[in-house]
Assembly symmetry: C2
Homo-oligomer: 304 residues x 2
């Protein structure tokens, strides 16, 4: 690869002891000194590797494997969650991506515990699950808007940690990403949605009500980072004023997670030679014979 992060980006973005959200420069590009153009090129390069590893994970899931990956995306309006889905997950086979968006609970969801809909959406073996918002809204919108008693909310942090631990114990690698835009940048992005006719549908007057509670939301995020970032399922806080940086950083986090799984192609659970013989026997005289050579040729090519 032409360009790389100077320091492993996961180490730079992972929430550690004494993390202070208010000190985060949201226009910064931790670990990346090569600018925007190189970042876009690096994204495409990483996309190919990501796609390869995703297929291996998918293949593993199809052959009895139990592992999966879950990317949790949090962030205020305009933080770029949708852009991550489009530009990062859009680089891999749609068959291997299981996307769930969590908005205001439906009447049916309201009847259940808040984790009910989350549990149902966890990725199946072999899948890369993506949560666009997540169970963490319980300590964001629910908390800031006072939708449940404060005493109940206070118990949620431990509940969320336990939930993530169970998910990890069930062979899912959990990557929790918070995309953090600045107040100024959010203002610009909302203004753009108002200026462009093709973006009006993305705008909701209630976005301004949420924006007016900016400080409360920042405090809620700070508390999430302090109380729910664990070794098994750490939070990564991504400065998101520069979309190209956020996309590259999340791609790298996803790639790191997949690389750490040491994914190999599953072994055949059948006798390859026997199947070759059986297949050859199916050839019809009036059709082109099944040639073993074509595949062999392609295999060679791929190995180069």
């Amino acid at each position: 690869m032409a360009h790389d992060f100077e320091t492993p980006v996961a180490d730079l973005l992972r929430v550690g002891d004494g993390f202070d959200l208010s000190a985060l420069d949201r226009r910064s590009t931790p670990g990346w000194k090569h600018g925007k153009k190189a970042a876009k090129k690096a994204l495409t390069e990483r996309g190919e590797r990501l796609s390869d590893l995703q297929e291996r994970l998918f293949a593993e899931g199809r052959t009895g494997g139990t592992r999966s990956v879950l990317l949790i995306l949090q962030g205020l309006d305009t933080a770029g969650k949708g852009g991550i889905v489009r530009h990062v997950l859009g680089m891999v086979d749609p068959q291997g991506v299981d996307l769930a968006s969590f908005g205001v609970p439906t009447p049916e969801e309201e009847k259940h515990h808040h984790l009910w809909r989350i549990r149902r959406a966890l990725p199946k073996p072999g899948q890369i699950g993506v949560f666009d918002r997540s169970h963490y809204e319980q300590v964001l919108v629910v908390k800031v808007e006072g939708l449940e008693p404060a005493e109940t909310t206070a118990t949620r942090y431990d509940e969320l940690v336990r939930f993530d631990q169970k998910t990890v114990a069930a062979d899912t690698t959990v990557i929790k990403v918070a995309l953090m835009v600045s107040h100024g940048e959010q203002g610009e992005r909302l203004a753009e949605r108002l200026d462009r006719h093709d973006k009006h549908w993305k705008y909701n007057p209630s976005d301004l009500a949420t924006r007016s509670k900016w400080d409360e939301y920042q405090a809620a995020y700070q508390q999430i980072f302090e109380r729910t970032s664990t070794d098994e399922a750490p939070w990564y806080v991504v400065p998101a004023d520069r979309k190209w940086y956020a996309r590259l950083a999340v791609t790298q986090l996803l790639l790191d997670a997949l690389e750490s799984l040491d994914l190999t192609w599953p072994e055949a659970d059948f006798d390859v030679e026997e199947q070759r013989r059986l297949l050859t026997a199916t050839a019809r005289s009036n059709a082109k014979p099944a040639k073993a050579t074509k595949g062999a040729k392609k295999k060679k090519k791929k190995k180069k």
Copy 2:
């Protein structure tokens, strides 16, 4: 666009009166005379338009619209259904694609009518649903393998037609695509799966059992085309020995369906000027002000 189909490909591939599957040349490329390289270029070009229309459909669904699109993919093993998902649907935003694969029914699915799991997987408003195999397996594998009494199977055709009619009546454009490979090409593709270690997971010894019933499956397809291709939900039979042709043809069918919806960007259901004023009032002195100009500039650019 640089190159185009000579005749609308939908007209060439749509099943009409007297359709005879046995006469189909599966290496042919109906309507396309420009070869493989131009086809790949044309695919990328169409991908951009597809992506634009998909976003409009998605926006419509988000703002109260009820329309959706359903692409049904049928075909024997190795026909290229997965490749369509990857290379055609992979060109649009994953958020707008709702993919469902129908394999052997699970124990829970077995307890219900065969259309139960299908109904649950129908695309929501604004989505492009994709079925990798579908309710039509009821008159394919279920029929050929004799998994239900022949008298019951005989009633399925009308049931399937009614089901599709209901789906169309619920504002879903239904595109039924059958990818048809030749016996020889299937042999080559299975051989490749045996030859390549990274493709073993795609191979199943039972594929040969299915292949041994080639003629029965072809007859079952012929009957499907005769009995379930309707004006509201016609079948398109796509010669699939050349993957690049099948991908381009299906892209065109999808594009035609989306174009026919006359998708416009939803009108704002709020007072844009008022929201601009309210947004400007949220600016903080210590941050960059929300500039209305940036969006306006981008809008201009987009219009060029």
